[in-house]
Assembly symmetry: C2
Protein backbone atom coordinates (compact mmCIF):
# COMPACT_ATOMS: atom_id res chain seq x y z
CA UNK A 1 0.00 0.00 0.00
CA UNK A 2 1.16 3.45 -0.90
CA UNK A 3 0.13 6.40 1.26
CA UNK A 4 -2.15 8.81 -0.60
CA UNK A 5 -0.83 12.12 0.74
CA UNK A 6 2.70 13.04 -0.30
CA UNK A 7 4.63 16.02 1.01
CA UNK A 8 6.78 17.74 -1.57
CA UNK A 9 9.67 19.65 -0.04
CA UNK A 10 10.82 22.30 -2.49
CA UNK A 11 14.60 22.68 -2.15
CA UNK A 12 15.26 25.00 -5.08
CA UNK A 13 15.88 28.16 -3.02
CA UNK A 14 18.62 26.29 -1.15
CA UNK A 15 19.96 23.38 -3.21
CA UNK A 16 19.20 25.08 -6.50
CA UNK A 17 20.62 28.51 -5.80
CA UNK A 18 23.75 27.24 -4.07
CA UNK A 19 24.73 25.49 -7.31
CA UNK A 20 24.40 28.60 -9.43
CA UNK A 21 27.01 31.31 -9.48
CA UNK A 22 24.48 34.05 -10.15
CA UNK A 23 23.03 35.60 -6.98
CA UNK A 24 19.24 35.78 -7.07
CA UNK A 25 17.96 39.09 -5.64
CA UNK A 26 16.29 38.72 -2.26
CA UNK A 27 13.00 40.10 -3.59
CA UNK A 28 12.94 37.51 -6.37
CA UNK A 29 13.49 34.74 -3.81
CA UNK A 30 10.58 36.06 -1.78
CA UNK A 31 8.35 36.20 -4.85
CA UNK A 32 9.33 32.64 -5.77
CA UNK A 33 8.69 31.26 -2.28
CA UNK A 34 5.40 33.12 -1.92
CA UNK A 35 4.21 31.93 -5.34
CA UNK A 36 5.08 28.30 -4.64
CA UNK A 37 3.38 28.44 -1.27
CA UNK A 38 0.34 30.00 -2.91
CA UNK A 39 0.29 27.11 -5.39
CA UNK A 40 0.04 24.77 -2.41
CA UNK A 41 3.64 23.76 -1.67
CA UNK A 42 3.70 23.21 2.08
CA UNK A 43 7.42 22.83 2.81
CA UNK A 44 10.26 24.86 1.31
CA UNK A 45 13.95 24.68 2.15
CA UNK A 46 14.57 28.38 1.83
CA UNK A 47 18.30 28.65 2.47
CA UNK A 48 21.41 27.54 4.29
CA UNK A 49 23.15 29.12 7.27
CA UNK A 50 26.67 28.92 5.96
CA UNK A 51 29.23 31.75 5.98
CA UNK A 52 28.45 34.29 3.25
CA UNK A 53 32.06 34.02 2.11
CA UNK A 54 31.43 30.39 1.15
CA UNK A 55 27.99 30.79 -0.44
CA UNK A 56 27.22 34.45 -1.17
CA UNK A 57 24.08 33.27 -3.02
CA UNK A 58 22.53 32.37 0.35
CA UNK A 59 23.79 35.29 2.43
CA UNK A 60 20.23 36.57 2.90
CA UNK A 61 18.95 33.32 4.46
CA UNK A 62 17.94 34.95 7.78
CA UNK A 63 15.84 37.55 5.95
CA UNK A 64 14.31 34.86 3.74
CA UNK A 65 13.40 32.70 6.74
CA UNK A 66 11.76 35.69 8.44
CA UNK A 67 9.75 36.37 5.29
CA UNK A 68 8.77 32.74 4.75
CA UNK A 69 7.60 32.52 8.37
CA UNK A 70 4.91 35.10 7.54
CA UNK A 71 3.30 32.66 5.07
CA UNK A 72 0.54 30.72 6.87
CA UNK A 73 0.86 26.94 6.89
CA UNK A 74 4.34 26.83 5.33
CA UNK A 75 7.03 24.69 6.93
CA UNK A 76 10.22 26.70 6.64
CA UNK A 77 13.25 24.44 6.37
CA UNK A 78 16.93 25.34 6.26
CA UNK A 79 20.23 23.57 5.97
CA UNK A 80 22.87 24.08 8.64
CA UNK A 81 26.45 22.83 8.51
CA UNK A 82 27.14 23.15 12.23
CA UNK A 83 26.07 24.49 15.65
CA UNK A 84 26.66 28.09 14.66
CA UNK A 85 24.31 27.65 11.70
CA UNK A 86 21.72 26.02 13.96
CA UNK A 87 21.88 28.96 16.35
CA UNK A 88 21.18 31.33 13.48
CA UNK A 89 18.37 29.09 12.19
CA UNK A 90 16.64 28.95 15.54
CA UNK A 91 17.13 32.69 16.01
CA UNK A 92 15.48 33.26 12.61
CA UNK A 93 12.61 30.96 13.52
CA UNK A 94 13.12 28.00 11.15
CA UNK A 95 10.63 25.13 11.55
CA UNK A 96 13.00 22.41 10.39
CA UNK A 97 16.77 22.21 10.26
CA UNK A 98 18.80 19.66 8.37
CA UNK A 99 22.40 18.82 9.15
CA UNK A 100 24.10 16.89 6.35
CA UNK A 101 26.49 14.13 7.27
CA UNK A 102 28.26 12.64 4.29
CA UNK A 103 28.65 8.92 4.86
CA UNK A 104 31.81 9.17 2.74
CA UNK A 105 34.39 10.68 5.08
CA UNK A 106 36.42 11.95 2.11
CA UNK A 107 33.35 13.78 0.80
CA UNK A 108 32.63 15.06 4.30
CA UNK A 109 36.11 16.54 4.50
CA UNK A 110 35.79 18.08 1.02
CA UNK A 111 32.25 19.39 1.54
CA UNK A 112 31.99 20.34 5.22
CA UNK A 113 35.71 20.12 6.08
CA UNK A 114 34.78 17.91 9.02
CA UNK A 115 35.35 14.29 9.98
CA UNK A 116 32.44 12.05 10.92
CA UNK A 117 33.30 12.49 14.61
CA UNK A 118 33.22 16.27 14.25
CA UNK A 119 29.84 16.26 12.46
CA UNK A 120 28.37 13.93 15.08
CA UNK A 121 29.64 16.26 17.81
CA UNK A 122 27.91 19.17 16.07
CA UNK A 123 24.72 17.09 15.87
CA UNK A 124 24.81 16.46 19.61
CA UNK A 125 25.45 20.14 20.36
CA UNK A 126 22.56 21.16 18.08
CA UNK A 127 20.22 18.67 19.77
CA UNK A 128 21.19 20.12 23.16
CA UNK A 129 20.58 23.64 21.89
CA UNK A 130 17.15 22.67 20.55
CA UNK A 131 16.20 20.95 23.81
CA UNK A 132 17.04 24.16 25.68
CA UNK A 133 14.52 26.18 23.63
CA UNK A 134 10.94 26.80 24.71
CA UNK A 135 8.74 24.14 23.08
CA UNK A 136 7.28 26.51 20.47
CA UNK A 137 10.74 27.42 19.21
CA UNK A 138 12.11 23.90 18.81
CA UNK A 139 12.63 23.06 15.14
CA UNK A 140 12.37 19.54 13.78
CA UNK A 141 15.93 18.24 13.47
CA UNK A 142 16.97 15.94 10.65
CA UNK A 143 20.39 14.40 10.13
CA UNK A 144 20.75 13.82 6.42
CA UNK A 145 22.93 10.90 5.29
CA UNK A 146 24.45 12.28 2.12
CA UNK A 147 26.38 10.39 -0.60
CA UNK A 148 24.50 7.40 0.79
CA UNK A 149 24.21 5.72 -2.62
CA UNK A 150 27.88 6.22 -3.43
CA UNK A 151 30.51 8.92 -3.59
CA UNK A 152 32.50 10.36 -6.48
CA UNK A 153 35.67 10.07 -4.38
CA UNK A 154 35.20 6.74 -2.59
CA UNK A 155 32.62 4.94 -4.74
CA UNK A 156 30.28 2.67 -2.79
CA UNK A 157 30.29 3.18 0.99
CA UNK A 158 30.12 0.04 3.18
CA UNK A 159 26.59 -0.54 4.44
CA UNK A 160 27.72 -1.16 8.02
CA UNK A 161 29.36 2.30 8.02
CA UNK A 162 26.10 3.90 6.81
CA UNK A 163 24.01 2.08 9.41
CA UNK A 164 26.44 2.98 12.21
CA UNK A 165 26.27 6.67 11.23
CA UNK A 166 22.46 6.54 11.11
CA UNK A 167 22.42 5.10 14.61
CA UNK A 168 24.93 7.68 15.82
CA UNK A 169 22.87 10.57 14.40
CA UNK A 170 19.80 9.33 16.26
CA UNK A 171 21.86 8.78 19.43
CA UNK A 172 23.16 12.35 19.08
CA UNK A 173 19.58 13.58 19.30
CA UNK A 174 18.25 13.94 15.74
CA UNK A 175 14.49 13.55 15.38
CA UNK A 176 15.03 11.57 12.23
CA UNK A 177 17.51 10.77 9.49
CA UNK A 178 17.12 11.41 5.79
CA UNK A 179 18.73 9.80 2.74
CA UNK A 180 20.42 11.94 0.12
CA UNK A 181 21.60 10.74 -3.28
CA UNK A 182 24.10 13.58 -3.55
CA UNK A 183 25.90 12.07 -6.52
CA UNK A 184 22.96 10.73 -8.53
CA UNK A 185 24.19 7.14 -8.13
CA UNK A 186 20.90 5.68 -6.86
CA UNK A 187 18.73 3.19 -8.69
CA UNK A 188 15.26 1.93 -7.71
CA UNK A 189 16.51 -1.29 -6.18
CA UNK A 190 19.19 0.50 -4.15
CA UNK A 191 16.62 3.03 -2.95
CA UNK A 192 14.36 0.28 -1.62
CA UNK A 193 17.20 -1.65 -0.03
CA UNK A 194 18.69 1.41 1.64
CA UNK A 195 15.36 2.50 3.08
CA UNK A 196 14.77 -1.03 4.41
CA UNK A 197 18.25 -1.27 5.93
CA UNK A 198 18.31 2.17 7.56
CA UNK A 199 14.80 1.71 8.93
CA UNK A 200 15.98 -1.58 10.41
CA UNK A 201 18.31 0.50 12.57
CA UNK A 202 16.38 3.73 13.26
CA UNK A 203 12.76 2.57 12.90
CA UNK A 204 10.22 3.48 10.20
CA UNK A 205 9.15 6.70 11.91
CA UNK A 206 12.69 8.04 11.89
CA UNK A 207 13.12 7.80 8.10
CA UNK A 208 10.29 9.51 6.24
CA UNK A 209 12.03 11.63 3.60
CA UNK A 210 14.41 11.29 0.71
CA UNK A 211 16.47 13.65 -1.43
CA UNK A 212 17.08 12.24 -4.90
CA UNK A 213 18.89 13.67 -7.88
CA UNK A 214 18.19 13.27 -11.58
CA UNK A 215 21.83 13.15 -12.62
CA UNK A 216 21.41 10.01 -14.75
CA UNK A 217 17.70 10.50 -15.54
CA UNK A 218 16.48 8.08 -12.87
CA UNK A 219 15.01 10.73 -10.53
CA UNK A 220 11.34 9.87 -10.88
CA UNK A 221 11.94 6.12 -11.09
CA UNK A 222 13.81 6.39 -7.80
CA UNK A 223 10.97 8.48 -6.35
CA UNK A 224 8.54 5.74 -7.33
CA UNK A 225 10.69 3.17 -5.53
CA UNK A 226 10.71 5.40 -2.43
CA UNK A 227 6.93 5.82 -2.56
CA UNK A 228 6.56 2.06 -2.73
CA UNK A 229 8.54 1.95 0.53
CA UNK A 230 6.06 4.36 2.12
CA UNK A 231 8.31 7.42 2.09
CA UNK A 232 6.17 10.52 2.61
CA UNK A 233 8.45 13.50 1.92
CA UNK A 234 10.13 13.94 -1.45
CA UNK A 235 12.64 16.70 -2.11
CA UNK A 236 12.60 18.35 -5.51
CA UNK A 237 13.36 21.68 -7.11
CA UNK A 238 11.41 23.81 -9.51
CA UNK A 239 12.98 23.54 -12.94
CA UNK A 240 15.26 20.86 -11.54
CA UNK A 241 17.87 23.46 -10.69
CA UNK A 242 20.64 22.46 -8.34
CA UNK A 243 22.56 19.43 -7.31
CA UNK A 244 25.72 19.22 -5.26
CA UNK A 245 28.37 21.72 -6.33
CA UNK A 246 31.10 19.75 -4.53
CA UNK A 247 30.46 16.47 -6.31
CA UNK A 248 31.90 16.75 -9.83
CA UNK A 249 29.48 15.70 -12.57
CA UNK A 250 26.55 15.65 -10.16
CA UNK A 251 23.77 18.02 -11.09
CA UNK A 252 20.05 18.11 -11.46
CA UNK A 253 17.45 17.72 -8.78
CA UNK A 254 14.18 15.92 -9.29
CA UNK A 255 11.98 18.40 -11.18
CA UNK A 256 9.07 19.59 -9.01
CA UNK A 257 6.78 20.12 -12.01
CA UNK A 258 7.23 16.57 -13.39
CA UNK A 259 7.05 15.10 -9.88
CA UNK A 260 3.73 16.78 -9.12
CA UNK A 261 2.37 15.65 -12.48
CA UNK A 262 3.42 12.06 -11.77
CA UNK A 263 1.92 12.02 -8.29
CA UNK A 264 -1.37 13.58 -9.36
CA UNK A 265 -1.61 11.31 -12.41
CA UNK A 266 -1.24 8.39 -10.01
CA UNK A 267 -4.12 9.71 -7.96
CA UNK A 268 -1.91 10.75 -5.05
CA UNK A 269 -2.48 14.06 -3.29
CA UNK A 270 0.06 16.84 -2.95
CA UNK A 271 -2.14 19.79 -2.03
CA UNK A 272 -0.62 21.59 -5.03
CA UNK A 273 -2.42 23.35 -7.89
CA UNK A 274 -0.36 22.05 -10.81
CA UNK A 275 -1.44 24.71 -13.33
CA UNK A 276 -0.50 27.42 -10.83
CA UNK A 277 2.80 25.70 -10.05
CA UNK A 278 3.71 25.66 -13.75
CA UNK A 279 3.20 29.41 -13.77
CA UNK A 280 5.80 29.91 -11.02
CA UNK A 281 8.47 28.76 -13.45
CA UNK A 282 8.24 32.18 -15.08
CA UNK A 283 9.57 33.84 -11.90
CA UNK A 284 12.57 31.53 -11.98
CA UNK A 285 13.24 32.11 -15.67
CA UNK A 286 13.07 35.88 -15.24
CA UNK A 287 15.29 35.94 -12.16
CA UNK A 288 17.92 33.56 -13.56
CA UNK A 289 18.37 34.57 -17.20
CA UNK A 290 20.49 32.09 -19.15
CA UNK A 291 20.21 29.41 -16.50
CA UNK A 292 18.88 26.11 -17.93
CA UNK A 293 15.56 24.93 -16.53
CA UNK A 294 14.71 21.25 -16.73
CA UNK A 295 11.51 19.27 -16.85
CA UNK A 296 9.24 17.92 -19.58
CA UNK A 297 5.72 18.63 -18.34
CA UNK A 298 6.06 22.42 -18.67
CA UNK A 299 6.69 22.06 -22.43
CA UNK A 300 4.41 19.10 -23.09
CA UNK A 301 1.50 20.50 -21.13
CA UNK A 302 -1.07 18.43 -19.28
CA UNK A 303 -2.83 15.51 -20.98
CA UNK A 304 -6.21 16.15 -22.56
CA UNK A 305 -8.84 15.36 -19.96
CA UNK A 306 -6.28 15.34 -17.12
CA UNK A 307 -8.11 15.75 -13.85
CA UNK A 308 -5.98 17.66 -11.34
CA UNK A 309 -6.43 16.76 -7.70
CA UNK A 310 -9.35 18.53 -6.08
CA UNK A 311 -7.86 21.40 -4.14
CA UNK A 312 -10.73 21.56 -1.71
CA UNK A 313 -10.05 18.26 0.04
CA UNK A 314 -8.00 19.00 3.16
CA UNK A 315 -4.79 17.00 3.35
CA UNK A 316 -3.84 14.89 6.31
CA UNK A 317 -1.44 16.74 8.54
CA UNK A 318 1.98 15.27 8.00
Amino acid sequence: MMRTDILISEVGPRDGLQSISAVMPTEAKKAWIAAEAAAGVREIEVGSFVPATLLPQLADTAEIVAFAKTIPGLTVAVLVPNLRGAEAAIEAGADKITLPLSVSESHSMANLRRSHGQVLAEAAAIATLIAAQPRAKRPHFEGSLSTVFGCTIEGAIPLRQILRLAEQLMAAGCDEVGLSDTTGYADPRAVKEMIREVRGVVGANALTGIHLHNTRGLGLANVLAALEMDIETIDSSLGGIGGCPFAPGASGNVVTEDLVFMLQAMGLRTGIDLEELLGVRRILADALPGEPLYGFTPDAGLPLGFVPEPASIPLETI
Copy 2:
Protein backbone atom coordinates in the same frame (compact mmCIF):
# COMPACT_ATOMS: atom_id res chain seq x y z
CA MET B 1 9.59 -10.95 -8.08
CA MET B 2 11.09 -9.23 -11.06
CA ARG B 3 12.60 -11.26 -13.89
CA THR B 4 16.36 -10.82 -14.17
CA ASP B 5 16.74 -10.81 -17.96
CA ILE B 6 15.23 -7.86 -19.79
CA LEU B 7 15.03 -7.53 -23.56
CA ILE B 8 15.57 -4.02 -24.84
CA SER B 9 13.98 -3.42 -28.22
CA GLU B 10 15.71 -0.49 -29.89
CA VAL B 11 13.14 1.44 -31.92
CA GLY B 12 15.24 4.44 -32.93
CA PRO B 13 15.73 3.45 -36.58
CA ARG B 14 11.94 3.31 -36.97
CA ASP B 15 10.21 5.45 -34.34
CA GLY B 16 13.10 7.86 -34.08
CA LEU B 17 13.77 8.46 -37.75
CA GLN B 18 10.11 8.72 -38.75
CA SER B 19 9.80 11.73 -36.43
CA ILE B 20 12.70 13.58 -37.95
CA SER B 21 12.43 15.41 -41.25
CA ALA B 22 16.07 14.77 -42.15
CA VAL B 23 16.63 11.53 -44.06
CA MET B 24 19.44 9.44 -42.59
CA PRO B 25 21.59 7.90 -45.31
CA THR B 26 21.15 4.14 -45.67
CA GLU B 27 24.81 3.49 -44.87
CA ALA B 28 24.54 5.45 -41.61
CA LYS B 29 21.50 3.40 -40.61
CA LYS B 30 23.44 0.23 -41.27
CA ALA B 31 26.39 1.45 -39.22
CA TRP B 32 24.06 2.39 -36.36
CA ILE B 33 22.23 -0.94 -36.37
CA ALA B 34 25.47 -2.93 -36.65
CA ALA B 35 27.06 -0.95 -33.80
CA GLU B 36 24.10 -1.40 -31.49
CA ALA B 37 23.94 -5.10 -32.23
CA ALA B 38 27.68 -5.35 -31.58
CA ALA B 39 27.09 -3.65 -28.21
CA GLY B 40 24.68 -6.47 -27.39
CA VAL B 41 21.27 -5.10 -28.38
CA ARG B 42 19.32 -8.20 -29.45
CA GLU B 43 16.18 -6.70 -31.00
CA ILE B 44 15.96 -3.64 -33.25
CA GLU B 45 12.91 -2.24 -35.00
CA VAL B 46 14.71 -1.22 -38.15
CA GLY B 47 11.98 0.42 -40.19
CA SER B 48 8.41 0.59 -41.32
CA PHE B 49 6.82 -0.67 -44.53
CA VAL B 50 4.77 2.41 -45.33
CA PRO B 51 4.60 4.14 -48.71
CA ALA B 52 7.74 6.17 -49.36
CA THR B 53 5.53 9.14 -50.21
CA LEU B 54 4.32 9.19 -46.60
CA LEU B 55 7.63 8.56 -44.84
CA PRO B 56 10.57 9.06 -47.21
CA GLN B 57 12.89 8.66 -44.19
CA LEU B 58 12.04 4.95 -44.15
CA ALA B 59 11.93 4.27 -47.89
CA ASP B 60 14.96 1.98 -47.62
CA THR B 61 13.37 -0.35 -45.06
CA ALA B 62 13.61 -3.45 -47.29
CA GLU B 63 17.33 -2.91 -47.79
CA ILE B 64 17.81 -2.26 -44.06
CA VAL B 65 15.95 -5.44 -43.12
CA ALA B 66 18.09 -7.46 -45.53
CA PHE B 67 21.22 -5.97 -44.00
CA ALA B 68 20.06 -6.47 -40.40
CA LYS B 69 19.23 -10.10 -41.17
CA THR B 70 22.94 -10.72 -41.80
CA ILE B 71 23.74 -9.89 -38.17
CA PRO B 72 23.80 -13.12 -36.15
CA GLY B 73 21.43 -13.33 -33.20
CA LEU B 74 19.57 -10.11 -33.96
CA THR B 75 15.77 -10.09 -33.99
CA VAL B 76 14.80 -7.80 -36.86
CA ALA B 77 11.49 -6.08 -36.18
CA VAL B 78 9.46 -3.80 -38.42
CA LEU B 79 6.24 -1.85 -38.25
CA VAL B 80 3.55 -2.46 -40.84
CA PRO B 81 0.36 -0.43 -41.28
CA ASN B 82 -1.51 -3.04 -43.34
CA LEU B 83 -1.42 -6.28 -45.32
CA ARG B 84 0.65 -4.77 -48.10
CA GLY B 85 3.29 -3.74 -45.56
CA ALA B 86 3.22 -7.23 -44.05
CA GLU B 87 3.77 -8.79 -47.47
CA ALA B 88 6.85 -6.60 -47.95
CA ALA B 89 8.07 -7.38 -44.44
CA ILE B 90 7.79 -11.14 -44.95
CA GLU B 91 9.40 -10.87 -48.37
CA ALA B 92 12.32 -8.97 -46.81
CA GLY B 93 12.63 -11.59 -44.06
CA ALA B 94 11.60 -9.68 -40.92
CA ASP B 95 11.53 -11.72 -37.70
CA LYS B 96 8.81 -9.69 -36.04
CA ILE B 97 6.08 -7.45 -37.40
CA THR B 98 4.01 -5.02 -35.43
CA LEU B 99 0.66 -3.69 -36.58
CA PRO B 100 -0.45 -0.63 -34.61
CA LEU B 101 -4.11 -0.30 -33.72
CA SER B 102 -4.94 2.99 -32.07
CA VAL B 103 -7.59 2.35 -29.42
CA SER B 104 -8.77 5.91 -30.13
CA GLU B 105 -10.69 5.65 -33.37
CA SER B 106 -10.15 9.36 -34.07
CA HIS B 107 -6.39 8.86 -33.75
CA SER B 108 -6.63 5.72 -35.89
CA MET B 109 -8.33 7.71 -38.64
CA ALA B 110 -5.75 10.51 -38.36
CA ASN B 111 -2.74 8.20 -38.16
CA LEU B 112 -3.56 5.15 -40.29
CA ARG B 113 -6.67 6.55 -42.02
CA ARG B 114 -8.52 3.42 -41.00
CA SER B 115 -11.39 2.58 -38.67
CA HIS B 116 -11.02 -0.08 -35.98
CA GLY B 117 -12.92 -2.53 -38.16
CA GLN B 118 -10.57 -1.91 -41.07
CA VAL B 119 -7.43 -2.38 -38.94
CA LEU B 120 -8.83 -5.59 -37.45
CA ALA B 121 -9.55 -6.85 -40.99
CA GLU B 122 -5.94 -6.10 -41.93
CA ALA B 123 -4.79 -7.99 -38.80
CA ALA B 124 -6.81 -11.06 -39.83
CA ALA B 125 -5.45 -10.90 -43.39
CA ILE B 126 -1.88 -10.61 -42.09
CA ALA B 127 -2.37 -13.58 -39.77
CA THR B 128 -3.66 -15.63 -42.69
CA LEU B 129 -0.68 -14.58 -44.79
CA ILE B 130 1.73 -15.56 -42.01
CA ALA B 131 0.04 -18.95 -41.53
CA ALA B 132 0.50 -19.64 -45.22
CA GLN B 133 4.28 -19.20 -45.00
CA PRO B 134 6.68 -22.08 -44.43
CA ARG B 135 7.41 -22.28 -40.68
CA ALA B 136 10.88 -20.75 -40.96
CA LYS B 137 9.52 -17.64 -42.67
CA ARG B 138 6.71 -16.90 -40.20
CA PRO B 139 7.42 -13.69 -38.30
CA HIS B 140 6.18 -13.11 -34.77
CA PHE B 141 3.07 -10.94 -35.10
CA GLU B 142 2.20 -8.29 -32.52
CA GLY B 143 -0.86 -6.09 -32.49
CA SER B 144 0.12 -2.92 -30.70
CA LEU B 145 -2.60 -1.06 -28.80
CA SER B 146 -1.54 2.53 -29.29
CA THR B 147 -2.83 5.66 -27.49
CA VAL B 148 -3.79 3.14 -24.82
CA PHE B 149 -3.12 5.58 -21.96
CA GLY B 150 -5.06 8.39 -23.61
CA CYS B 151 -5.31 10.31 -26.85
CA THR B 152 -4.67 13.94 -27.69
CA ILE B 153 -7.95 14.02 -29.64
CA GLU B 154 -10.28 11.96 -27.43
CA GLY B 155 -8.57 12.05 -24.03
CA ALA B 156 -9.04 8.89 -21.97
CA ILE B 157 -10.37 5.87 -23.88
CA PRO B 158 -12.97 3.67 -22.11
CA LEU B 159 -11.33 0.57 -20.66
CA ARG B 160 -14.00 -1.76 -22.06
CA GLN B 161 -13.18 -0.48 -25.56
CA ILE B 162 -9.48 -1.19 -25.03
CA LEU B 163 -10.13 -4.69 -23.70
CA ARG B 164 -12.50 -5.49 -26.56
CA LEU B 165 -9.88 -4.40 -29.11
CA ALA B 166 -7.21 -6.50 -27.35
CA GLU B 167 -9.49 -9.52 -27.56
CA GLN B 168 -10.30 -8.81 -31.20
CA LEU B 169 -6.61 -8.52 -32.13
CA MET B 170 -5.94 -11.92 -30.57
CA ALA B 171 -9.03 -13.37 -32.26
CA ALA B 172 -7.76 -11.99 -35.57
CA GLY B 173 -4.63 -14.10 -35.15
CA CYS B 174 -2.00 -11.91 -33.47
CA ASP B 175 0.59 -13.83 -31.42
CA GLU B 176 0.42 -11.15 -28.76
CA VAL B 177 -0.63 -7.58 -28.08
CA GLY B 178 1.58 -4.72 -26.95
CA LEU B 179 0.81 -1.50 -25.12
CA SER B 180 1.97 1.82 -26.53
CA ASP B 181 1.88 5.14 -24.70
CA THR B 182 1.84 7.07 -27.96
CA THR B 183 0.96 10.37 -26.31
CA GLY B 184 3.12 10.20 -23.18
CA TYR B 185 0.05 10.20 -20.93
CA ALA B 186 0.99 7.14 -18.86
CA ASP B 187 1.87 7.14 -15.18
CA PRO B 188 3.18 4.22 -13.09
CA ARG B 189 -0.19 3.36 -11.59
CA ALA B 190 -1.92 3.43 -15.01
CA VAL B 191 0.84 1.22 -16.46
CA LYS B 192 0.29 -1.41 -13.79
CA GLU B 193 -3.48 -1.29 -14.03
CA MET B 194 -3.50 -1.48 -17.84
CA ILE B 195 -1.12 -4.46 -17.88
CA ARG B 196 -3.29 -6.24 -15.29
CA GLU B 197 -6.51 -5.50 -17.15
CA VAL B 198 -5.29 -6.44 -20.62
CA ARG B 199 -3.66 -9.62 -19.31
CA GLY B 200 -6.99 -10.46 -17.73
CA VAL B 201 -8.36 -10.68 -21.25
CA VAL B 202 -5.46 -12.02 -23.36
CA GLY B 203 -3.41 -13.92 -20.74
CA ALA B 204 0.03 -13.08 -19.34
CA ASN B 205 1.90 -14.75 -22.20
CA ALA B 206 0.18 -12.57 -24.77
CA LEU B 207 1.34 -9.27 -23.26
CA THR B 208 5.10 -9.20 -22.73
CA GLY B 209 6.21 -5.86 -24.13
CA ILE B 210 5.55 -2.16 -23.70
CA HIS B 211 6.36 0.99 -25.64
CA LEU B 212 6.57 4.02 -23.36
CA HIS B 213 7.39 7.63 -24.12
CA ASN B 214 9.22 10.21 -22.03
CA THR B 215 7.01 13.12 -23.04
CA ARG B 216 6.44 14.28 -19.46
CA GLY B 217 9.64 12.87 -17.98
CA LEU B 218 8.01 9.74 -16.55
CA GLY B 219 9.55 7.30 -19.03
CA LEU B 220 11.80 5.39 -16.63
CA ALA B 221 9.32 5.51 -13.74
CA ASN B 222 6.77 3.93 -16.08
CA VAL B 223 9.35 1.34 -17.16
CA LEU B 224 9.92 0.46 -13.51
CA ALA B 225 6.19 -0.04 -13.04
CA ALA B 226 6.13 -2.33 -16.09
CA LEU B 227 9.09 -4.34 -14.79
CA GLU B 228 7.28 -4.79 -11.50
CA MET B 229 4.44 -6.31 -13.54
CA ASP B 230 6.88 -8.80 -15.09
CA ILE B 231 7.05 -7.17 -18.51
CA GLU B 232 10.11 -8.50 -20.35
CA THR B 233 10.50 -6.34 -23.47
CA ILE B 234 10.99 -2.59 -23.20
CA ASP B 235 11.09 -0.35 -26.26
CA SER B 236 13.49 2.58 -26.21
CA SER B 237 15.53 4.65 -28.62
CA LEU B 238 19.14 5.72 -28.57
CA GLY B 239 19.33 9.38 -27.65
CA GLY B 240 15.59 9.27 -26.97
CA ILE B 241 14.88 10.34 -30.53
CA GLY B 242 11.37 9.92 -31.82
CA GLY B 243 7.86 9.84 -30.57
CA CYS B 244 4.65 9.99 -32.54
CA PRO B 245 4.63 12.62 -35.28
CA PHE B 246 0.85 12.47 -35.52
CA ALA B 247 0.18 13.23 -31.87
CA PRO B 248 0.78 16.95 -31.32
CA GLY B 249 3.08 17.68 -28.38
CA ALA B 250 4.07 14.05 -28.04
CA SER B 251 7.77 13.46 -28.42
CA GLY B 252 10.62 11.65 -26.79
CA ASN B 253 11.10 7.95 -26.44
CA VAL B 254 12.59 6.32 -23.39
CA VAL B 255 16.35 6.85 -23.73
CA THR B 256 18.15 3.54 -24.34
CA GLU B 257 21.34 4.73 -22.62
CA ASP B 258 19.58 5.75 -19.36
CA LEU B 259 17.38 2.63 -19.48
CA VAL B 260 20.36 0.29 -19.75
CA PHE B 261 22.09 2.14 -16.92
CA MET B 262 19.01 1.80 -14.73
CA LEU B 263 18.57 -1.90 -15.45
CA GLN B 264 22.23 -2.75 -14.91
CA ALA B 265 22.39 -0.64 -11.73
CA MET B 266 19.44 -2.67 -10.46
CA GLY B 267 21.37 -5.86 -11.14
CA LEU B 268 19.19 -6.87 -14.08
CA ARG B 269 20.72 -8.28 -17.24
CA THR B 270 20.38 -6.82 -20.71
CA GLY B 271 23.23 -8.52 -22.56
CA ILE B 272 24.44 -5.03 -23.48
CA ASP B 273 27.90 -3.56 -23.01
CA LEU B 274 26.96 -0.14 -21.66
CA GLU B 275 30.29 1.57 -22.38
CA GLU B 276 30.12 0.35 -25.96
CA LEU B 277 26.49 1.43 -26.27
CA LEU B 278 27.39 4.95 -25.13
CA GLY B 279 29.91 5.06 -27.97
CA VAL B 280 27.20 4.36 -30.56
CA ARG B 281 25.69 7.75 -29.79
CA ARG B 282 28.49 9.28 -31.82
CA ILE B 283 27.17 7.64 -35.00
CA LEU B 284 23.77 9.18 -34.36
CA ALA B 285 25.18 12.63 -33.63
CA ASP B 286 27.28 12.57 -36.81
CA ALA B 287 24.43 11.34 -39.03
CA LEU B 288 21.82 13.74 -37.63
CA PRO B 289 23.63 17.08 -37.19
CA GLY B 290 21.55 19.61 -35.29
CA GLU B 291 19.10 17.01 -34.05
CA PRO B 292 18.76 17.09 -30.23
CA LEU B 293 19.82 13.92 -28.43
CA TYR B 294 18.40 13.22 -25.00
CA GLY B 295 19.57 11.28 -21.98
CA PHE B 296 21.54 12.07 -18.85
CA THR B 297 23.91 9.12 -18.43
CA PRO B 298 25.97 9.97 -21.53
CA ASP B 299 26.92 13.36 -20.02
CA ALA B 300 27.11 12.29 -16.36
CA GLY B 301 29.13 9.17 -17.06
CA LEU B 302 28.98 6.00 -15.02
CA PRO B 303 29.26 6.07 -11.22
CA LEU B 304 32.66 5.50 -9.68
CA GLY B 305 32.96 1.80 -8.96
CA PHE B 306 29.96 0.94 -11.16
CA VAL B 307 30.11 -2.73 -12.04
CA PRO B 308 28.62 -3.35 -15.49
CA GLU B 309 26.90 -6.67 -16.03
CA PRO B 310 29.28 -9.47 -16.88
CA ALA B 311 29.05 -9.90 -20.63
CA SER B 312 30.13 -13.52 -20.50
CA ILE B 313 27.03 -14.90 -18.78
CA PRO B 314 24.67 -16.23 -21.44
CA LEU B 315 21.20 -14.73 -21.28
CA GLU B 316 18.04 -16.77 -21.15
CA THR B 317 16.46 -17.01 -24.55
CA ILE B 318 13.45 -14.74 -24.58
